[in-house]
């Protein structure tokens, strides 16, 4: 197991370098706005733009820029021209000049609260719904939940977000019961921050809860056909215990994999729509700003952090999976 983890970590390291490379390539190959011109202002002349290009290091070849970046992120060596040194030096934002790492760390709490809260909400919805639908197949309840589920899966998150806002937000809603847009920034205590997250949680969780419920339902239905469930019943176990222990234990295992990846992807800034609709100052909102302003260091930094989360959580999921499913062993 230890050898497996070490090997995986080495791969992760190489993958992160590759991801940085891909972002560089994408940024230069696909049309993006010229950061130097954006920064210089509309009346700046060629020399000014050139000076800015130099100060941002954009005059160097792509390969050289990439090398400097990689050196800053992954190695502890001094970087010529700056007094900031690696490792974990992600550069400064073209736009605000803020240290990318600091910005991302300052964004993480909001995103983490959003994502983990949403995870709790969607699991709290998905598990009972999935179980009930599975054991009461084709009942009215099952059909109703599955239709609702389809609606939520098909609804775009930003649409759902706006609908939620216009229905329930204290600032712009018809039935003003939950804190509205931008309330996270106003909240100064943890309970207040949680309250500000109620609508975003529900919105972010809605579609995922629906997907998980459906997935859990189909998993449970599969598991209930298993011989060992018949064995459990034949042993004389109460049905409740058969479902809660024997069926759920098997049905939930693949969901752990799903959950790990979903959490990673959301932490990586994929809550972008929810964050922008509700103005939650998290990684997603930062991504939105960075892309809008062609802020390469920010985009690069967020992507790397995202890749890091995904790689790490993937590894965690694999390890957890080995504990959940004793048949799995990594060499």
């Amino acid at each position: 197991m230890a050898r497996y983890i070490v090997r995986r970590l080495l791969w992760a390291f190489l993958m992160l370098i590759a991801v940085s490379g891909v972002v560089f390539v994408l940024f230069y190959v696909f049309p993006s706005a010229d950061p130097a011109q954006l920064r210089a202002g509309r009346q700046a002349n060629e020399d000014q733009i050139q000076a800015i290009r130099e100060s941002l290091g954009l005059d160097k070849s792509v390969l050289e820029q990439f090398w400097i970046y990689i050196k800053g992120v992954f190695t502890p060596f001094d970087l010529p021209g700056t007094d900031a040194t690696g490792p974990l030096y992600f550069g400064h934002s073209y736009q605000s000049n803020a240290d990318v790492k600091d910005v991302i760390f300052s964004d993480l709490p909001a995103t983490a609260l959003l994502v983990f809260g949403a995870v709790i909400v969607w699991m709290a919805i998905a598990i009972p719904t999935g179980i009930i639908s599975a054991i009461r197949q084709r009942s009215l309840l099952d059909r109703t939940t599955m239709v609702t589920t389809l609606v939520f899966i098909s609804a775009p998150v930003f649409w759902l977000g706006l609908v939620a806002l216009y229905l329930f937000a204290q600032d712009v809603g018809i039935i003003p019961i939950f804190p509205g847009i931008g309330s996270y920034a106003d909240a100064d205590s943890f309970p207040a921050k949680c309250a500000s997250m109620i609508l975003p949680w529900l919105v972010l969780a809605a579609a995922t809860a629906a997907i998980y419920a459906r997935y859990l339902r189909s998993q449970m239905i599969d598991v209930m056909q298993e011989d060992y469930i018949r064995t459990a019943r034949a042993k004389g176990l109460p049905e409740r215990r058969v479902i809660a222990k024997h069926v759920l234990r098997s049905a939930i295992t693949p969901i752990v994999t799903l959950l790990g990846l979903d959490v990673a992807v959301l932490l990586a800034g994929n809550a972008i729509l929810t964050e922008t609709v509700f103005n939650i100052p998290g990684v997603g909102a930062e991504t939105f700003n960075a892309i809008k302003r062609s802020d390469l260091p920010m985009i690069q930094g967020i992507t790397l952090f995202g890749a890091f989360f995904i790689v790490t959580l993937n590894l965690v999921v694999d390890i957890v999976y080995a504990y959940l499913d004793p048949r799995v062993r990594y060499e």
Binding site: G41, Q43, S55, A98, F158, I181
Partner: protein, 623 residues
């Protein structure tokens, strides 16, 4: 100032939000009227009510961050909203100032020597920097502020244009570029004979441009002994450590929320600024006045105790609703979207919606250097055929501004001289709804017998926005061009890419740029017409003359007008330049934007006409 008023962010967001509002709000009736009646009806107050109340906290709801927190680089309407409350330039703008600025740090308007080549300011001797600097401002602080703006680490977008006539500036620019971290270069033409005198020597008579540029934040004093350590970095970090001279300051560790001094000395790093998230303004304890009663040298009453600018409201429809239904809020950087304007106009309380001419225009640029638009008759045909009302309506209809007939915007010096709302006496601009017959005539004059464009030249490329409303405008432009027989290849990219990679790079410029426009820097025709239509200003990159118009007599007229230092003559001259440009039909101007600003019902907001946005130092909360 940059035309960077944030439009269309997430296309989907806005479309959906729009649909939602449309569904709730009934049909969208648009008017074809070309007047600015709406602007009159919703004119913004330019002075505080007589019973204005002191105290209270205001929240500004914004979509994005300021362009630069550094006052030396600030070049954006929304940023000016902040700097006009925290800084004291040599001259500033009171809310009603249209014709010219009002002295602020300077005791009076600058004197210009008889030869027009020396500009002298006398500055107040009782203005103090906010903590941790705390000392009295001298003329040297203004000199330093201007000099540091030449540093590559302080990306100022206008100083080198307007101050090009200042003695020794070329040398200073070179010095700064050769040694970006060597500190601000000395500009030999700017001298400080004593602590209250600032003298600027020019090599030509461009004093009006210089004086105009020095009404902008670059002339707000910066203490060299404090700032130089930050200016030695590239980019400079003075912005994150700036000190204030206005009634407000961006909070730092020296000052508490209520504006009281915690400590006279602190490291000066702003605690009240988080990029893309928040700017927190508190009262500047060294300002010298009280809420509602400014010190003798200042004209800003500054009623509010604190202002919090909250950023990141990407969906401007819900942000607008929040402002309209909330308390103690105003909009910040975004123009209120049409659906919210409608809501404010119909169901809001009186005064919640204000419309102010923004001092900007939007137009469709035709590339005059490339066939088929190198033929003036083809251009005239395109203008004649264009239904500019339709184009204007893509931005939200009548409440968003009148249909433009020329370049200089309403209430701007030279606007009336250029023909006012009616526009210049040119047949192809007369009918805002388009005149297909006239267009056909011009096409025939251009040699297209059928009245429609035919042949390989008629296959043209257009690069425009990929999100509404810009993409809507572009789509209408495309169909109008197709009516004349053009085959239009419409490439959609983001607004920034459209500018930096295509329309502002002549070597890569398409035949048509449908989503360009210009906002004044200050109230002088030079800032509207010189960068955009002077053939001498066509540059390989960052070009703003999108039509690439290069007509010698217009170039000369612009250069001449720049040197006129009598305001009346100057107005006349720019009005004429405007008409000369329109006679060349290089662009289809279709709107002079009115900026729609909104406020919560309990805010007594005052709009600064110069900036077309809320003036934080005049706005108060209703008693």
């Amino acid at each position: 100032m940059r035309m960077k008023v944030l439009r269309a962010l997430v296309p989907g967001l806005l479309v959906v939000a729009g649909l939602l509002i449309a569904a709730c709000g009934g049909s969208d009736e648009t008017s074809t009227s070309g007047t600015s009646e709406a602007a009159k009806q919703y004119a913004a107050p330019t002075e505080a009510p007589s019973d204005a109340q002191s105290g209270g906290d205001l929240t500004v709801i914004a979509a994005s961050d300021v362009d630069y927190i550094d006052p030396g680089a600030a070049y954006y309407q929304f940023t000016y909203m902040v700097t006009s409350a925290t800084l004291s330039q040599l001259e500033g703008y009171a809310p009603a100032d249209v014709e010219g600025p009002t002295p602020l740090l300077a005791t009076e308007a600058p004197t210009v020597s008889d030869d027009g080549k020396t500009v002298t300011y006398t500055i107040n001797d009782d203005v103090k920097f906010s903590p941790p600097v705390n000392r009295t401002v001298t003329s040297a602080d203004v000199k330093y502020a201007i000099e540091r703006s030449l540093l590559p680490g302080v990306p100022n977008g206008y100083v080198q244009t307007y101050l090009a006539g200042v003695e020794g500036i070329d040398k200073a620019i070179k010095e700064a570029q050769d040694n970006p971290t060597g500190g601000a270069p000395d500009i030999s033409g700017i001298t400080t004979p004593d602590d209250t005198t600032l003298e600027i020597k020019l090599t030509n008579t461009t004093s009006i441009g210089v004086i105009g540029a020095l009404t902008l934040p670059v002339s707000a004093p910066v203490p060299e002994e404090y700032a130089k350590q930050y200016d030695a970095e590239n980019p400079s970090t003075y912005g994150e450590h700036q000190v204030a001279t206005g009634p407000y300051m961006i909070q730092n560790a020296c000052v508490a929320d209520d504006g009281s001094i915690v400590s006279k000395k602190c490291d000066g790093e702003l605690t009240g600024y988080t990029p893309n998230k928040e700017i927190h303004l508190v009262r500047n304890p060294n300002w010298g006045g009280e809420a509602g009663s400014p010190p003798d040298w200042d004209f800003r009453p500054a009623y509010l105790d604190q202002v919090t600018i909250q950023e990141g409201f990407a969906d401007t429809v819900s942000a607008s609703k929040k402002v309209l239904s909330g308390s103690a809020m105003v909009n910040g950087d975004f123009t209120t979207p049409p659906s919210a304007i409608k809501q404010a106009a119909t169901s809001g309380e009186e005064g919640q919606l204000t419309l102010t001419p923004s001092g900007g225009n939007r137009y469709v640029a035709l590339n005059t250097q490339s066939p088929p638009f190198d033929d003036i008759n083809v251009r005239k045909a395109v203008l004649a055929n264009s239904n500019r009302t339709d184009l204007r309506n893509t931005r939200g209809g009548e409440l968003t501004g009148p249909v433009a007939t020329h370049i200089l915007p309403p209430e701007f010096p030279g606007f009336e001289e250029a023909g006012g709302l009616e526009g210049p006496d040119l047949d192809f601009i007369q009918n805002p709804d388009g005149d297909p017959e006239l267009a056909a005539e011009y096409m025939k004059k251009a040699g297209y017998e059928s009245g429609k464009c035919e042949g390989p030249d008629c296959e043209i490329t257009m690069v425009g926005d990929d999100s509404p409303p810009g993409s809507d405008t572009a789509a209408v432009v495309k169909s109008q061009l197709e009516q004349l027989g053009f085959k239009v290849n419409f490439q959609k990219v983001t607004h920034d890419i459209m500018y930096t990679k295509f329309c502002s790079t002549p070597s890569n410029a398409p035949e048509v740029c449908p989503n360009v426009g210009w906002l004044k820097d200050f109230n002088d025709g030079q800032s509207m017409l010189d960068p955009t239509f002077n053939g001498a200003n066509v540059v390989p990159e960052n070009n703003s003359n999108w039509a690439q118009l290069n007509v010698p007599k217009i170039n000369k007229a612009i250069d001449d007008a720049t040197l006129i230092d009598d305001p009346e003559q100057r107005k006349q001259a720019w009005g004429e330049v405007d008409d000369m440009i329109m006679a060349e039909a290089p662009v289809i101007p279709y709107i002079w934007d009115d900026q729609a600003n909104i406020q919560s019902a309990d805010v007594a907001g005052v709009v600064n006409k110069f900036n077309a946005n809320w003036d934080l130092a005049y706005t108060s909360l209703k008693p």
